[in-house]
Symmetry: C2
Subunit: 207 residues, 2 copies
DNA sequence: CCAATCCGGTGACCGTTGTCACTTTACCTG
DNA sequence: CAGGTAAAGTGACAACGGTCACCGGATTGG
């Protein structure tokens, strides 16, 4: 994967520094990249594939906050990196995902030296901040059926597939709900002609 | 209010630039500082008092996300400032609040020139990001009684008062609930000896 | 091919919260 | 002090979503 191609806005000097200090890593679908409570030692940048970021609670509840796609970075890793804090979220590879890891010590240095880097950091914060606000909106103001519909639409957009390979159980996890509830709501959506249900797959109609 | 005293980490040069370009403003308790959908033209920094930041939805629902106290800045104003976007939140003065407004054009300039400023910006993002995550936790995983207790404890901490001057209706607004529900839960808490209820006030016991 | 397993469908039930309607209480003001 | 008003208490009810129990169909693997 060509870094310069993925980040055309980065100065060549910055690319060189990153290439010198980064280590690559590949995660298989479903593999956990980061756990709640784990120490963060690197900034994670996605080159290829996609990561899901979850918030967890003590009793096994989990809740999908956002996706990190290629050319994006995990804001949480940056945040924690600055203070060597533990992660407050969980990250899981959704598909086969290629990332690079940058040692946190580099962060301060890059921020000072490269304007494109500090813009990238700020831009990442901004985007994630807005996504968190959207997440808050949804759980605070929407019912499960509306949240489900948003979830499916977003999945279609992120994967580019209309037929989503998902079980009801997986959807329930992501929305911090239960399988039965999701099944019921999907049935309703099917009756309204919004989706077609298959085994292990949900086909989205009327986009 | 002495800027240098409030921000000891700022370089004297930075203080000078801020003083030259800032305009002061005072808001009365309950006054709306920023509305959802409004264009942001300045960065807001609180010198004295406290602001409440809400997320609103179309149907009049609102939801308290966090407070901005003295020596703190509104992360949203920074985020929007960078791209001249509209605000996605509402800000209301909780008490008599003194702020300074920095024109957004200054942002880029300061970021490049003053390390203490870019650290301040990053630090602000980091803190707000975590508060958003906490807010998500609460609405996603906690029941109203737990959220209410957290809300009261936080108010005690923020105001320094054990006897909170709040009506049940105001609490209901902040938690996006209804007065009756809050009244019921407060009654329960009173029976458990956690609070003492007065007219227009809630006294917190056992801290 | 049959058993085990996984996925999904379904009905019953319940707790939490929101809503409605109304009453009671505290406080303020003329 | 009387009357008005804002705040708070309360009971009834409904909607949403979580849980339980159980079933049936599809898939897989020995």
């Amino acid at each position: 994967m060509n870094l310069q191609q993925l980040f055309p806005q980065f100065e060549p000097g910055l690319i060189t520094v990153i290439e010198k200090n980064a280590t690559g890593k590949v995660f298989e679908p479903g593999e956990v990249i980061m756990r709640t409570g784990q120490y963060i030692k690197s900034i994670v940048i996605v080159l290829k594939g996609r990561i899901k970021i979850y918030r967890e609670n003590d009793e096994g509840g989990e809740f999908l906050i956002y996706y990190v796609g290629h050319g994006e970075a995990c804001a949480v890793s940056m945040i924690c990196a600055l203070q060597s804090l533990t992660s407050e979220i969980m990250a899981v590879a959704e598909e086969k995902t290629e990332v690079i890891l940058l040692p946190i010590q580099l962060m301060d240095d890059l921020m000072g030296k490269f304007k494109s880097w500090s813009q990238f950091v700020i831009q990442t914060y901004r985007q994630r901040f807005e996504e968190l606000l959207t997440a808050i909106d949804h759980i605070a103001f929407l019912n499960m059926d509306e949240r489900l519909e948003f979830y499916l639409k977003r999945s279609v957009k992120k994967t580019g597939k209309i037929k989503l390979e998902l079980t009801h159980q997986q959807v329930a996890y992501d929305l911090n709900s239960s399988r039965e509830v999701i099944s019921r709501l999907l049935k309703k959506m099917e009756q309204m002609g919004k989706v077609k249900l298959h085994r292990n797959a949900i086909e989205f109609l009327n986009i």
